[in-house]
Every structure is written in structure tokens, then in C-alpha cells.
Amino acid sequence: MRYLPKSDTERIEMLREIGATSIDDLFSVIPDEYRLERDLDIPRQMGESEVVEYFKAAAARNANGYASFLGAGAYRHYRPVIIDSLVQRGEFLTSYTPYQAEITQGTLQAIFEFQTMICELTGMDIANASMYDGSTGAAEAVMMAIRVTGRDDVLVARTVHPEYREVMHTYAQHQGHDAREVGYGPDGRIDLAALEQAVTEETACVLVQSPNFFGIIEDIPAIAEIAHKKNALLIVSIAEAVSLGIVRPPVEADIVSMEAQSFGVALSYGGPYCGVLAAKEKYLRQMPGRLVGETKDTQGRRGFVLTLSTREQHIRREKATSNICTNQALVALMTTIFLTVYGKQGMRELAEQNLAKAKYAANALGKQGRVLFAGTPRFHEFVLQTEEPAGQLNARLLEKKIIGGLPLEKWYPELGNATLWCATELTTKEQIDAAAAVIAGAPVAVSTR
């Protein structure tokens, strides 16, 4: 086997030095009846070319050459080439969690830069070194709020990504608390009057998403005021991180849970992505996950270390703030490189392009249907309501190699034939016009680039 750096002769010599006569001696502790005496029933060993061919064939059976208007928590943005060049350096790729600070300063400094950038973007004081993704990050944020407040009532907006809400319910159900949902108003935002009624002295937190699942920007200051009046925490989930280039950061929030996939991370059929938690500094003690801090070495030189680990499972065991151990470090590095590439000006320019494309798309598609919640500020997604059932409409679009908006019926049946559309800087005017033409029933030709 080509990954194994030993000859059979070396194996025999090593066994002899150990004092074993055969390799089976080393497995003799496994009781006979549980020893596998046959080959595993899996595909035979393949040559590298065969492995590559297998995956090329699989890749060919996925969508190829389609224009796509899908978003809904997984966004297609341009990924600068140098991200991949840099994260494929073995020193980043094949390093472990930086517990041995003297020989992992590269990873540690990069995470410190990541934490700083997340604070800058979100308006929070502290950020951790990543969570699994936006959905588990939101669930962990809720757990954190419960610990901070000592209360166990949770309110969550129905405009939060439905799958985030499902994950939160899974996390919460066995902890003696569960979430109540607060609906949305005709403007596509959380119903503030309903929220005001729902928040009580027992409410640990209010979880909203902004831009929300419909792409609408929530009125964070107003929501914060309602939550804070009853001393509940406000958690703002951000599924589309690029929005922060142009959308006011949720500075009134107590905790921000963000999915940073948009920052240069491949869609990759759903993962790995990059969750992150940021918060006001007074909640530091209850923050889950790893944190990197600056310090000095014995010579007074600057260096970075994993710190405040007494919150974590390997020290605190069952009293830890979370059971999280492995996080998404390499993906966090990708987002750090992305943010370094775009920088202060680029983030704004990029976000403005997204805004412009979505505006154009909403206008173009809106002529063939109805854009819901049209008067409320939004980022780069919108809900399109059509006469035609979503399935039928999308089937017609697929014939023209266009993947249309995500049907919402499963989660929001009250919206009828509604689809969620997303346009990013990669969506072209030609693609938008083509989609509009298909919806209108006109014949079109479309290029995917």
C-alpha cells in the first residue's frame, strides 16, 4: 500500500525486535470470536488514477453547467485562487490544534487575526476561533444565553433559517427548555408586537436572523429594545456574512452567531462551513469553543496561545461550556485569507455588487410574479410568489439549465407558490434575463458563464 512506508523485511525485523513472531501476536488480546478473519467487504484497492476517475464520474452526475439562483444559507461567491494555494500548504493543512504554541504560531496568529476581523465586522468585543457551522453556532449561542441569564425560555423568530431552528430544537429538547416561535409581519420581519407580548421575565434570549431567511434585514435596534426591557439577551444569527460589507452590524446584540461560508468557502454540497460566535466581552466566561490570546514568551517576545481553556471539555469535563473540541480551523483560515484579500474597501464593493444584482433580479423576476415584502430593506435574496406551482416552474427552468429559487412550501406553506431567489456578484445579467424570460414563458438561450 503506497501510503505505508515499510517494506515487508522491515516489518519482520521490527517484529523480531519487539519479540513477536508474527503480527498476530500483537492482536492476540482481541478474543478469537471477535477477530475478523476475512477481508472487509468494500471495493478493492484502487490505483490513484482509478480513485480520480471514480470521483470525476461522480462529479459528472451532479449539476454541471447550470446557472443557479440558490442561496438559503449556502452562498456562491467568487473564491480568490490564493485561498486554496495557501490552505493547501502542508504546514496549515496537516497541523493539529495548536496546543503546543511554540511550534504552531502560524495557526495561532492567523486565528487571532480571524477573531479580530470577526469583531470588526460584527461590532462585537470578542469572537471565538470557530464553531461547526451557522446552525450549531446558533444553538450554542442559545445555550450560552441560558447559562448567562439562568433562565430557560427561548424565543426564536420564524424568519430564522428553518434548519437552524430544527438544530436548535434538537439541542434544547433535553435540557429542560424549548423554544417558542414568533411569527413575521406583512413586512417579512419578525412581528414586533407579537415579540413584545411573548418576552417575559423568564425569557433567556431572543434569536433572530438578519438578513433573515427571506433576505430581509431585521430591525435590530427595535428588537434589542424589546428583549433588553426584560433583561433577555438578543442573539443575532447572520447566515450571509458578505452582507456585513454594507449592512449595519448588529451592535445592539449580546451574541452574534455567524456562518462565514460566504467568505471564500466552497459550497461542497453543504460543508465543511464555518460557524463563529462573537459576543460582548462580559459574556466571555460563558463562551464555548477555543479562544486565542496574545501573550509574551520568557524573552518578552509577542506570541499567541489557546487561552481560557478552563471553559472547555478537556479541563472541565461535564461542567464545560460545551462539548465542542475539533472546530473548523482550516475553514476559518480560508475566511481570514478571503477577508485579507477583499480588505476594508473590497468588502463594501463586493456587498454593493450583491445588492445591485439582487435589485436587478427582483425587478426582472418581479415582473413575472410578485416579490413579497418588497418595501422592506433586503440584501441579496428575495421571495418570489408565482401563479405557477414552484415545482413546475423550476422544472421549466431546469430545461434551460437554470436552477431556480428554493421552493418554500415545506417550511412556509402560507406563502403559496413561493420560491427564495438569490443573486450574488457571480450572477450575470444574462442569467437573470434568461430566468425572467423562462418564467414569462418566452423561448431563451442562456450561457452559464
Binding site: 501510503y3 505505508l4 512506508p5 521490527m14 519487539i18 488480546v29 478474543p31 470470536e33 468494500i42 484497492q45 470521483f55 461522480a58 462529479a59 451532479n62 443557479s68 490564493i82 504546514e91 496549515f92 503546543q100 511554540e102 502560524g106 495557526t107 492567523a110 487571532f112 477573531q115 479580530t116 465586522l121 470578542i126 451557522g134 446552525s135 449595519r248 461542497s268 454540497y269 453543504g270 460543508g271 465543511p272 466566561r285 509574551k296 520568557t298 517576545r301 506570541g303 478552563t310 461535564e318 462539548n323 475539533t326 480551523a329 482550516l330 483560515l333 485569507i337 477577508l339 485579507t340 477583499y342 480588505g343 476594508k344 463594501r348 464593493e349 454593493e352 435589485k359 436552477i403 456578484e425
Partner: protein, 517 residues
Amino acid sequence: MMATTDRFTGTTRKVTAHLTQNEGLSFEKSSPGKKGYKLAPLDVPAVDAAALLGEAVRKDEPTLPELSEIEIIRHFTRLSTWNYAIDLGMYPLGSCTMKYNPRVNEFVSRLEGIAEAHPYQPESLSQGALGIIKLLQDCLMEITGMDAITLQPAAGAHGEFTGIMLVRAYHQSKGNPRKHVIIPDSAHGTNPATAATCGYQVVNLKSNAQGGVDVAALAQMVNEDTAAMMLTNPSTIGVFENEIHKIADVLHDKGALLYMDGANMNALVGKTRPGDFGADVMHLNLHKTFSTPHGGGGPGSGPVACKKTLEPFLPSPVLKQGSNGLLYWDYNRPQSVGRVRMLYGNFGMFVRALAYILANGPDGLRQTTEDAVLNANYIRRKLEDVYDLPYSTPSMHEVVFSDKRQTRNGVKTGDIAKRLIDYGFHPYTTSFPLIVPGALMIEPTESESREELDLFIDAMRQIAREVEENPELVTSAPHSTRVSRLDETTAARKPVLRWQAAGASEAVEIDSAAKEW
């Protein structure tokens, strides 16, 4: 550089000191107006963001670096050279399985049809992705001897969470979720943290004199309130629980389940199967056993495999195959514990793990396991005369020594670990498992040649001699790194967790309850 002294100072054979570049934070290198990007021109009318967004428009400018592309390349390349990595040499972290991460895995995960697949694209246009998931699931079920599986969990601890949720749902379906989970004192910290997260009390089981499960003590502990036992096999001291079936029987007799922490599965693949020896549910770490890269701490992937009885409770959705042969996600799972993560899991890691399995085949995987165990036993044989071996039970894929002999000279496991750095190795795992005071937990994996092992053994033996003759050299190590030992106490007492413009970074205020740090 080594400290100059008349006393014994070892000779490093693996490494030679060389220069590394200095590099500040990206923020410190930034200057206004520099750019590392160029967007395509906008092909639709530009918009007035302030008019569109009103109050919601961003008015402040986040402080992000402004750098050109070459500076960014150098910045991160320089940082990378400050890291140790498997690609540079042996990384003997016990329980972490730092094996070679094959490059073909990276290549195939980046194929356009795979990397650009949107998770909500129609299933008819996702058959390639679903096929990869199906084949990986089938392989992992065969390897573990289990009947059902979910790939949704994002890491090992997340898999534990999912597995214990399955246990809970199973008991709940019988009318009572039960109260506690039994966990040996040798377990990873994630085990008790997981049980607590799932609403269970943790009952600690003291290990027996061999470092294994005390079956008699366990039998006394298990009752109708026991939901499960979480067991790592081989244990964290690298020992196979040879009474595993008795353990399973003791649990099953009271209706409790056996959860197996699969962190150490690299010792078992192709040689024995947890499903055959009584485990009801287990997680795997694709980033350990199945060669997906650790990436400086993630991403991982923590599939959970289980017996048929637990299948109804698996997270939704579950992959199914229709009569037309097409694969699809089944969301109609009334007994499911719910989602543990959005979408389907860390798919990019599935691709890599499957590429590893295909490149190995049954013979390669078995040989891999055998080599991993061979390497650990070789190290044990070559070091047991200089380092204390607290448990003489046969080792599987890792060996755990203690610093008992070295502490007589005031040198602890952490010091020896730091000194290993000067010899060109990443340290082993220190001070774990907790049942071994001053533990040196060494897991070489199969990826080390005899030459590399011999260099490691030579380094460890020289350090042992330094401890006898020149202990200060060891307690002040490392001497060859960019930074020496870092002040972790100040880092925790006055945390500086982000860079601040203009002037020194400031420590955040911690409330008084933080004194326990």
C-alpha cells in the same frame, strides 16, 4: 540553539536550525488604498445602498487589512513556516491519530462538480454527491459491523452528542429516558461533557489495576437508571478491553446500551468490528482514522453508526434509494432525534475519507492497522527501559508511559514534550489520560517509517539522559523555536483576544467570578 553547558546535551539528528521570516499581524502591515482584489465590472445598474437600505446601511468602516496579493501570499506563507505539521515529520499525539493526509483526497474534493455542488440543488442533479455518501456509508457500516449510519455530525464530539441523543430517544421510546451515563475515568473530556449536554448525570467508573474496565464494579453500578456506558476501545492507554463482551452483557442485562467512542478505531479497522463485539452505537472520527486533514483543529467529521434498534431515531434526513435506483433524502422520520446540523454534514470530508478507503481497499486498511500497532509496540519496546510503563498490558496503536522516573530530577512530562521540539518532533500528548499521573501518550500511527521511529526513539533516549545529567536544559525547553515558552497565566488573567488599532492591545475586563482561572 542548545544551551551551552559542560553537562550532557543531546545531538539532534533530525533537524538543523534555520532562519524563519518575521511577520507582523496583517493589520499592522496594512496601508490605505492597497488592494488584493479586482471585481468584474457590474453588468447591472449600480444602486445607492443608503437609499435602498435606509437605517440598515453600514456607516462605519470595519478595520480590515489593505494589502496587495504578493503581501498576502507572503504573510500567510511566512505564518505557515512557523507551524509543525505531519508533512514535516512524525506527530505522535496520542489519541489524535496524526496520519498522512493523502493529496489525492484534496484533489478530488476540489473537482468542480463536487466543490460547487449546492446543497439545495435538485436531487436529480445531485446523484454524484449522494452516490459518494451512499458508498461511504456502506463502507463505514461494513468496517464497524453496524446496521445504520448518519454522516451528519460535524466532528467527534458532535458525533458523541448525536449518539447519546439516539440512546436517549431509544430509552424514551420505551417510556423512560433513564438518568445517568457511566464513563470510565480514563475517558476523553468530551464524553462527560457530551453526557451532560444530553441531560444525563455522569457516573464515573474507576479503572482497574490494568487500566481497563472493572467489570465487577461496573456490574454493581449498572441499574435501571443507566442509559448507557461510553467506552473508548482500545482505551486511552491503548489497551483493548478484552472483556468487552462481558461489559456489553452487563449493560444489556439491565437494558442499558454500550456507546463506543471510536477515536481509537485506527487500532481495529479490518481486524475486529465493534458491531460484532457488542457496541450498540459509536462514532468515528474521519479526521483521525480516515485521513482527512486536521487543518490546525478542524474541520472534522463524526459519523455515527448504530444497530438496527436505533435506526428509527437517526437525525433527519436519512439517505434512501428509490425503486428507480435514484438516491434521495428521506425527511419523513417521525421518531428522529431531529437535526444535529443543517444540511447533510461535512460533505467535503466524506469525499476525502472515501478516497482514502478506495485507495486502501480491504488489504490496505488491514495492513494500515497492523502497521499502526507494530509502530506503537516498537516504540514501547525501545523506550520501556528508560521511561516508566504504568500498565504492562499489551499495547495496541498507542503506548502510554509516565514521567515517574524523570520527576525525581524535577522534570515533568510537559518538559520532555517541549524538549522533543528541539529534536525536531511534535510532542506526544501530555498529562492524558488522567488515570496516569504525568502521562506521555504516544501514538505514532502507521505513517512512520522505521527511520523516523528510530530518530524519535533516539531523541527520547537522549532526553532521558539529559534529564539525569542536565535537567535544566529540559525544563527550560524548547530552545530552538521562534518563541520560547509563553506566559499562559497572563494570557488567561488579562485576555487580549483581538488586535486593536493605535497602541497596545488591551485586555478585556473579566468579572470577579472568573477567579477560578
